[in-house]
């Protein structure tokens, strides 16, 4: 028997996920522009792995494959993971990370809609813990000149681990701007002198700051078409800005500007694409604010005082743990029961 409502809006999970994928494109385009097409290979590799893992897991769990495989959620996980790890990461790292994200952190928890942790961030965390060295070799942006690998050479490294004769890995890669900042601060340099280094641009790292802007543009598009709500990015960026701002004001020699934090690392990607994963974020408006603000604060603390250069992934995962609690605490009052009179 069929019961009302008999009509539904023509929206679907796969369409939502597709829009999010679309929104990633400006950022990816800028990524390719500044760092070369290697990232596209990573994304493709991660996508194929994700779909294959998804299909295998669905089969093993005895679930219908078609509707779930076409919901695009595995693709989104793959893209986000690929964008979070170095573009030159060897192929097996991409495969291991993606497979882990899909199989363990998504399907072992019950599949779509049931995973408490953001799968892409789990994949990232597994990789950075297991292969810390590989995770620090980022491509140098074109703008810096220096030796550049051709696309073929990049592929050669990704799949064979071989670099052209006479080149060392260090010559063609560099640490991320955040990493560099951390190392140099440890060496006793001041923020100002570090920022004068050639790898830094106006806001943050050369090239990577533009990629972050690309992600922000995609994020604004998502906000505009109401796929994501404003609460998460606004609260996250505000909390990050505020914490960084306080430290910067108190001690500008040792703490960089808040804008630097906004545009480096995975902050923009995280604000608009990672925290906003509906499955692993709170459902109430107040809960979203608390969740994202907490993530902003933690991101800053990990970046400034923790052992890892970027804190986005761990901050997200830590806040993911709190989601059920936050949801339970922030249940809004319902119609007519708000108290305070009529």
């Amino acid at each position: 028997m069929w019961s009302s409502p008999f009509i539904t809006q023509p929206s679907s999970v796969s369409q939502i996920m597709l829009r999010v994928l679309l929104a990633l494109i400006p950022g990816i385009a800028l990524y390719v522009w500044y760092f070369g097409p290697a990232i596209l290979v990573s994304i493709a590799l991660a996508s194929v792995t994700a779909l294959a893992t998804e299909a295998i897991m669905l089969k093993l769990r005895n679930r219908p494959i078609k509707p779930f495989l076409s919901d695009n959620s595995a693709l989104l996980t793959a893209w986000l993971l690929a964008l979070s790890i170095p573009p030159l990461a060897p192929w097996w790292m991409v495969v291991v990370g993606t497979a882990f994200a899909i199989a363990i952190s998504k399907h072992l928890y019950g599949g779509l809609g049931n995973n408490p942790f953001n799968p892409a961030m789990i994949g990232y965390a597994v990789l950075i813990i297991s292969f810390p060295v590989h995770m620090t070799h980022w491509l140098t942006p074109h703008a810096l000149g220096g030796t550049e690998l051709t696309f073929g050479e990049q592929l050669g490294y990704m799949f064979n681990g071989a670099l052209p004769a006479g080149l060392t890995l260090d010559a063609v890669t560099m640490a991320t701007p955040l990493d560099t900042l951390k190392t140099q601060l440890h060496l006793g340099l001041s923020v100002d002198s570090i920022r004068d280094m050639p790898i830094y641009g106006h806001l943050a790292g050369k090239g990577s700051e533009m990629v972050a802007i690309g992600f922000a543009i995609g994020g604004l598009y998502l906000l505009f078409i109401r796929i994501i709500s404003w609460h998460l990015p606004v609260a996250f960026l505000a909390a990050l800005f505020a914490t960084a701002g306080v430290f910067h004001l108190v001690d500008p020699v040792h703490y960089v500007t808040p804008l630097f934090h906004w545009f480096s690392g995975a902050a923009m990607l995280g604000a608009f694409f990672i925290l906003t994963d509906p499955v692993t974020s709170p459902t109430t408006a107040r809960g979203k604010l608390i969740f994202a603000a907490g993530a902003g604060l933690l991101t800053y603390l990990i970046r400034a005082f923790g052992g890892y250069p970027d804190g986005m992934a761990f901050a997200t995962l830590l806040m993911n743990i709190c989601v059920p609690l936050i949801d339970a605490w922030t249940q809004p009052k319902v119609f007519g029961k708000k108290g305070g009179g009529k």
Partner: protein, 568 residues
């Protein structure tokens, strides 16, 4: 301009109203039969007061209201009662309910009726008239109007007349307002009198400019004081009573609270119209306006006699052959009718002919992705995704804690859900499961009480019997004491000595019982002289009863067959 308020959420489904507003309201043809359910309203089912074969006149009461919350049911036209039995009715369950089937004689002969001047009539009498006229809320809730037009202790400030009609496809109120605005307003005036309300606010969604104009015109023409026609924004479910009250007055009426407690009462425009017909002309509720739309040649509103089979009604609008089902009500909250044979009831505001082209079956449901689109549109400000989770896990306590019963089942959440989860069905399931459990718990409680009472009663009877026996024994002992004691029984003598003092009474009772039995057994074969007259009488009575039972049992056993086969 009056400041309007907003309610949370809401959706904008395609309205599809223009299809059925192109033609005026038509009188539906007299059907070949009328299937009139006796339970068309909230409250107790009406009790049939006619016999099969009886001729009834149009407007004659055929079902009398039963109990406080109930309403009368009338013959919609003159004709003969052909059956009073269980028939399929317009209910989601597809289960039958008691209906009176009427075969019209085509004369449409009215019973004598006349109206009253409401200004000269006591309010209690007016309410009684409404009850006898079977006037109930025609917006879909079918709550008896006499029970609503009563302000009790509460001061009613505002009477809201609901002409919002927010559901897609439905236009019956729209057409009624366009064509019969005057009577609606007069009915509203009667209701205002009954409630002593200070103002009457008529809320109409701004996608019905013709209706708004007609109503405004009528307010001016009849010089209704305290009345205001207000265009409200088109937003589903803005026509829900709670939502409209909120929009017009800013008052939020929580679930489980009567709006009168907050100084507002709300009636549908069609109800106001019927109130006027009932009071001023003595016409009971015999027909209503029904929109017939969807998969039909020419969608239109009809004035339909209650009880008209849906099949016969939709044929008049040219139902297309690929129609698969009939939906009663709108596409958001309507009911999938179990059959086209069911009769139109007081709640039938619209029949949508549905084909899979117009209403494709929903795509398979995916898991909830917690996107909160449902929470964004929920007018009750609930968290539908949580309710769904609890209902799915059958965690009903938790669902109630998250305000399941505040859900008005508007369907907005399921309408927007990208995973196409039949959310409302989960809520309905959970609600009816909770009700069922409450019923069961009540039944169990009743059974427990009655069982405990019974145990207590048996215990008491036992004790009383024991006391009586003990007394008898005493008397017997006294009698024995006066006579020479032949052979004292050692068991009895020994008993008090060896027994625990607490047990003495019980032991003595047991012993007495045992001895009484022994005596009886010993006495009977030998000399009946030993029996007292009383004992003899008792024995005789017992014997007589036994014989009688045996005889009757044999007799009944022989007679057993015919009634049983009759039953079968």
């Amino acid at each position: 301009m009056r400041p309007l308020f907003k309610f949370h959420g809401g959706v904008h489904p395609p309205t599809h109203k223009a299809e059925s507003t192109g033609r005026p309201i038509a009188q539906a043809a007299l059907p070949s039969k009328l299937v009139i359910p006796l339970h068309q309203h909230v409250g107790n089912r009406a009790v049939p007061v006619v016999q099969v074969g009886e001729r009834v006149l149009k407007g004659q009461v055929i079902g009398r209201p039963e109990g406080r919350l109930s309403s009368a049911v009338h013959a919609s036209t003159s004709g003969t009662v052909s059956a009073i039995d269980m028939q399929l009715v317009a209910h989601q369950s597809g289960l039958p309910d008691l209906c009176i089937t009427l075969i019209p004689d085509g004369k449409d002969e009215w019973i004598a009726h006349s109206g009253v001047d409401y200004r000269q009539t006591a309010h209690t009498d007016l309410r009684h008239l409404l009850r006898q006229a079977g006037v109930v809320g025609l917006g879909g809730a079918v709550f008896p109007s006499d029970m609503k037009s009563y302000s009790h202790k509460h001061q009613i400030r505002t009477l809201v007349i609901n002409g919002a009609e927010c559901e897609p496809y439905i236009t019956c109120d729209d057409m009624l307002m366009r064509e019969r605005a005057g009577d609606i307003l007069r009915g509203a005036e009667v209701l205002r009198e009954l409630l002593y309300a200070e103002e009457v606010l008529i809320g109409i969604e701004d996608n019905k400019p013709e209706a708004i104009a007609a109503m405004q015109q009528a307010v001016l023409e009849d010089k209704h004081a305290h009345m205001e026609v207000i265009a409200v924004p088109t937003l589903y479910p803005g026509g829900g009573a709670k939502q409209l009250i909120r929009v017009l007055t800013g008052i939020e009426v929580a679930a489980g609270v009567r709006s009168t407690e907050m100084g507002v009462q709300c009636f549908n425009v069609a109800t106001a119209y019927c109130v006027w017909r009932a009071i001023a002309f003595g016409e009971p509720l015999l027909s209503r306006i029904v929109t017939v739309t969807g998969n039909v040649e020419h969608a239109q509103n009809f004035e339909v006699l209650l009880g008209t089979p849906v099949d016969e009604l939709v044929a008049q609008a040219g139902s297309k052959p690929d129609t698969e089902r009939h939906i009663m009500g709108g596409p958001m909250m309507g009911v999938d009718l179990p059959s086209g044979s069911v009769g139109v009831t007081k709640a039938t505001n619209c029949i949508i002919e549905a084909s899979s082209r117009l209403f494709p079956p929903p795509p398979p449901a995916l898991p909830c992705i917690r996107c909160t689109r449902c929470a964004d549109v929920c007018p009750a400000e609930l968290q539908p995704q949580d309710l769904y989770w609890f209902a799915k896990a059958r965690d009903f306590g938790k669902a109630q804690e998250y305000h399941l019963f505040d859900c008005i089942e508007c369907g907005a959440c399921a309408y927007v859900c990208p995973s196409h989860i039949p959310l409302v069905q989960y809520y309905r399931f959970a609600k009816s499961e909770i009700w069922q459990r409450e019923r069961e718990a009540q039944a169990a409680e009743l059974a427990r009480e009655r069982h405990e009472f019974r145990l207590m009663r048996i215990e008491r009877e036992k004790q009383e019997k024991a006391e009586r026996l003990a007394q008898k024994e005493k008397a017997a002992l006294a009698a024995k004491a006066s006579a020479p004691a032949p052979n004292p029984e050692p068991a009895i003598a020994a008993a008090p000595a060896t027994a625990d003092p607490d047990d003495t009474l019980q032991m003595r009772i047991d012993a007495a019982v045992a001895r009484a039995k022994e005596q009886a057994a010993a006495a009977q074969p030998k000399n009946t002289d030993a029996l007292t007259a009383e004992q003899q009488a008792e024995i005789d009575a017992i014997e007589a009863r036994r014989a009688k039972i045996r005889e009757m049992a044999a007799h009944a056993g022989a007679d057993d067959e015919p009634p049983k086969s009759n039953q079968g």
